[in-house]
Subunit: 212 residues, 2 copies
Amino acid sequence: MVLSLCGRSLLLLGPRFLHGSARHSGARVAVVLSGCGVYDGTEIHEASAILVHLSRKGADVQIYAPDIPQMHVIDHSKGQAAEAESRSTFAVDGETCKMNKEVERVLQDFHKAGKPIGLCCISPVLAAKVLPGIEVTVGHEEDKDGKWPYAGTAHTIKALGAKHCIRDVCEFHVDQKNKIVTTPAFMCETELHHIFDGIGAMVKGVLKLIGK
Amino acid sequence: MVLSLCGRSLLLLGPRFLHGSARHSGARVAVVLSGCGVYDGTEIHEASAILVHLSRKGADVQIYAPDIPQMHVIDHSKGQAAEAESRSTFAVDGETCKMNKEVERVLQDFHKAGKPIGLCCISPVLAAKVLPGIEVTVGHEEDKDGKWPYAGTAHTIKALGAKHCIRDVCEFHVDQKNKIVTTPAFMCETELHHIFDGIGAMVKGVLKLIGK
């Protein structure tokens, strides 16, 4: 499973949303998304990059997302919340944030089954919340040069009882024991191709754990 | 200019829609999009691939799209038109299709100025309509194996007075005289990474014409 949950809201994102790609025999991978758009769902470049890299590796991909109403909607022409009261429970509650029960169950089931899990951007927070003691990265722990505006997330991950490993945007971290692969992606303010390459490294790491 | 107009409807697609990427010094490129979604606008993987390849080449990118109401909207959870009366003028009128006057003017101005123009997927039809006698590709001219479901588009391009050059999805065609670079992209039903690579070839071709 490759989890890409940049956003806080969840909605159905069926295969029709993203242009289809012919199937290959190979690793069977579930890609879990959380809506569309950096402000109210999965960052679309991350979603596309994950699917490009999985396609190149011949993976048999199915895209999933919880089928529930979106928590809040963004006017992308303004980059502003369309509803003033819109809130992310992570933004409001930090480590005590609530998360979708279905996503929580899927993460626990995949972990119990010993199936590799890949997570990018801010989604390692969700795994840290439901899988105590795991090792993940969301990049750097301090924003010295403006490249890591969400560096505080690493401290939330520690507060949740997980181990945070500092990595750069093109790097990834593998928790061999728990079979969890993470990469910072857009937790870093950088050029788009670095995000693409970091996600490629994460996908490669997940498929290596599958033995593909 | 790199033109990605898979769809038939046009709407404002500002930089906020796509997660920002730090600027580089390098070629100055305008990316013209036409909404979001394979059914009602620019195919999102094509848009992301164009920006990833331009980022890797250090291009200074600005994203543009005409600021007009969307002609029709798709319910992406069903892949169906949200409005029954929705129509694409290209789908209805073929070579006599109407096109946005601003896009027509931009294509003609860039061509007159001798600035390279890149087009992918079905957008070469628009250039063929306003720039008579150009050479472009939208892939194959016959759908022998189900990989080229939109092969009829090549005949529309010929009917418009342009020359169609058969190319595979990972290839591109350069009209040296008119400085126009085209690639089939999702005119071909194939694996996503082939689309990504074909668009990379187009971007490389455009930047070579710029001298970058």
